[in-house]
Amino acid sequence: MPPIVPSPMNDHERGPSRRTLLTGAAGLAGLGLLTLTGCTSGARSTTIPEGAATGIAARGGRLRIARPAASAAETLDSASSLSAYEYLGALYNRLVKQNQAGETVADLAEEWNATPDGTTWTFRLRKGVRFHNGKTFTAADAIASIEHILDPKTASPQGGVLGDMLDKNSMSAPDPYTLRFDLTKPNAEFPSLLTAYQCYIVPAGEIATIGTTGIGTGPFKLSSFAPAGSGSVEAFDDHFAGRPALDGIDFSSIQDTTARVNALLAGQIDLISQTNLDFATARVVSASSRATVARVKNAQWYTIPMLATSTEFKDPMVRQAMKFAYDPKVIVATALQGTGSPGWDNPVPPTLAAFDDDRRVYDPDKARALLKKAGRSGMKTSIYTSSYESVFTPMAVAYRDQVKAAGIDLTVRNASSDSYYTEIWMQKPLMVSYWFTGRPIDQLLNQIFRTGSSYNESAWSNTTFDGLLDDARATMNDDRRRMLYQDAQRLIIEDGADMTPMFGDRLVGISRDVVNYREFGFEFDYLRIGLRK
């Protein structure tokens, strides 16, 4: 939106005057008020923009990204659970990646096919791809990278997923540009499992030191990196898909969310990564002349896990009642202020091709009847939340208010954010949680919902569901397989213990100079993102 009056930016370029100071102060006071009254009125002048600006990026320029570094233990080894997420997509490529519809598309592998039984997969690799150290990429590098993920010493989150169907003898290279996987059991969705952000390919000889060298085939090469500190990457001219729009990216670690926002508003950085701004802050940022907000659609998958092993929720009727009792549309309207879409307890985002659009009903009377049948009328329990994520508490409160109609009496309890995922998650019978979306369908269902998976946050166990997943993996026909996945989704909605009230848009703070910002499948679009000037 072009400013009608001369923007404060121009004033600043001339140096601060008394007038600027006064208008600046008045504006800030206004912003302060806006923050204070953030949750009172529905209609307001400042709205949160829909998406990121697109346009032609000027060639060159350096993008400055502020990131919340996990800890000083972070590493550039993508296989590790302590990887520095923002660097990975800039430095490396995978064999295959996901597009926005969740389909598996080419990256370092150009094409792939399987034997009719789905046990042998052959990937044809891209030729003439160079690593940042000048070496040529071959199948040996891919084999070494995947072996590194499978190595128990790496303790990679993807190690267990791939280890389920791969062992040391599964991989072979008939020639330098052909990679063959002989799976220990059939898997029609195997390529999609290689799209995980742990599966980046690094040179075979560099694995021991990859955590600090970051040598890959990606659009940028590393020039400096300090764990939990700052780092830089420079455009890699020999990247196989062409040179990126930017000359380089400077990363800095800012732990405090307010400090990250201040840095953006002060023009010290251009983008805040891994941060879902709360609505009050998002409005302040979009009202700023330097910065704005870009929405990443449905990027946040919010859940309310009911611990299926707890006395409260081991009865499927109680779990059903907890679902019938609330209307996700209301939760989206209140907790997300409309910046998201209702989930109706289906964990599959509507953007995925395998999404099942059958929707459960909202029926508080049915919930009440189910509770009565289960002998739990007027059920009382606690729902745990924390300041870990800005939507957690609004979601817990909105859910509590919704289920009152069914006679369910919930007490919202706030737990410390720094131990929320060690003390509350998978420990308390009822709590709120979230994930980033971006998992392919097979990984999503197997990792979060399968019996015994270490990420199964509701400890739900259903043998029919597990059987459906096994059948799907053994079914090479795409339509048949999609139907099996849809049956699995319906089972989660009916019997599952992990509710999905909604998918939230991630509100990302970016400078008004940034164009073509896109982020999906756990990766930025680093090739196209650029600066306007």
Partner: protein, 361 residues
């Protein structure tokens, strides 16, 4: 002999305080939920991942044994290695401490000088316009928490009028020169937060002293206000203020945690916050040790300065130099000095100062 015993006793207490501080911090960390492996992994803390990380960090070892080993190492100057970064704690703590001192020392110097002056001015001009202005401003600054002061300063001087950077973008690898543009706002916040308390104490203590008999005596002798204030009132008024100054200097260590977090400043406060969050025991222990050391040293220094500023002590030394008569009063003066500045006996002080003046005349 008595002085030596006092000093030795103080040093002994100091060492005990430091060791106890380290023990209490250790116990407190044990009470916190989760260990370093769980904290680092967060949502990825699957049983296998936690087990692998614990083994690689040596966390399977008995926790008391680890504490004991760390303590022995620390006594030899080896503060162990960080469980998170794997780097030795000593050097990284030194860098963080240096960065913190870069904002804390100027804040301390400016804060103490300016606030003592303002406090004395307000005390002397009690009830006048300048007193009202100084008191009001110091009350306001005192009531507003420092993170709020920091945020307002960032809004005004980094966002509205961009003269200073809002945050530090570089991490602990930043050199002093790279940090220089960013030190100003944190320094101002620390100065303001600290100064307010000192202004209040200096003001009330000046008012007390100005009302005392020896000042009246001095006024009746026809000395100029300037002489009365700076030669007689201020040294006595500073005595009770000293402990507040010492406490405030030590408080700076706590204040930097908040301020450094708001400005993303790579100092000791931020290191402390991160290591507590990650349950990085060796780093927390080293920080606790250093903080306790600073606390103890500050208080020790305050006591020594109090001894030096005490008019009775000054008289004794002068008296001894001038004539042997002074020796007669010596034991009493020493006893009063070691009993602490708070028990100042106005009558002795008055006698002391007037005799000192006579010596000069």
């Amino acid at each position: 002999m008595t002085v030596l015993t006092t000093v030795l006793r103080r040093i002994g207490t100091a060492i005990l305080t430091i060791v106890l501080a380290s023990l209490f911090v250790f116990l407190a960390i044990q009470l916190l939920p989760g260990d370093v492996a769980q904290q680092l992994l967060g949502q990825n803390a699957t049983p296998d991942a936690v087990k692998a990380l614990r083994e690689s960090l040596g966390l399977d070892q008995n926790v008391w044994l680890r504490y004991g080993n760390w303590l022995i190492g620390a006594a030899h100057g080896d503060f162990g290695t960080s469980l998170v970064s794997g780097d030795p704690v000593g050097p990284s703590l030194f860098v963080a401490f240096r960065n913190s001192m870069l904002i804390a020392v100027p804040a301390m110097l400016i804060g103490v000088t300016v606030s003592l002056t303002l406090g004395v001015v307000a005390g002397v001009r009690r009830g006048r316009a300048s007193d009202h202005v100084i008191s009001l401003i110091s009350l306001v600054v005192m009531s507003v928490p420092e993170f709020m002061v920091a945020t307002v300063l960032v809004l005004v001087f980094a966002i509205a009028i961009p003269v200073f950077p809002a945050v530090v973008l570089r991490g602990s690898d930043a050199t002093v020169l790279q940090l220089l543009p960013s030190v100003w706002l944190p320094m101002i916040v620390l100065t303001l937060a600290m100064a307010a308390y000192i202004v209040r104490t200096a003001r009330s203590s000046t008012i007390d002293v100005m009302a005392s008999e020896f000042i009246t005596t001095a006024e009746l002798k026809g000395l100029s206000t300037r002489q009365i204030v700076w030669r007689h009132a201020v040294p006595s008024a500073l005595l009770p203020t000293l402990n507040v100054v010492a406490l405030n200097v030590a408080w700076l260590l706590g204040g930097v945690v908040v301020v450094e977090n708001v400005f993303n400043y790579p100092g000791m406060g931020k290191l402390m916050l991160e290591s507590v969050f990650n349950r990085d025991l060796p780093t927390i222990q080293a920080i606790a040790l250093l903080s306790a050391l600073i606390y103890v040293v500050c208080n020790l220094a305050a006591d020594l300065v109090a001894l030096a500023l005490d008019p009775r002590l000054r008289t004794r030394q002068r008296g001894r130099r001038a004539r042997p008569r002074g020796t007669a009063r010596r034991p009493a003066a020493l006893a009063a000095a070691s009993a602490g500045p708070a028990t100042a006996d106005t009558a002795t002080a008055t006698a002391g100062t007037s005799s000192a003046r006579k010596d000069r005349a």
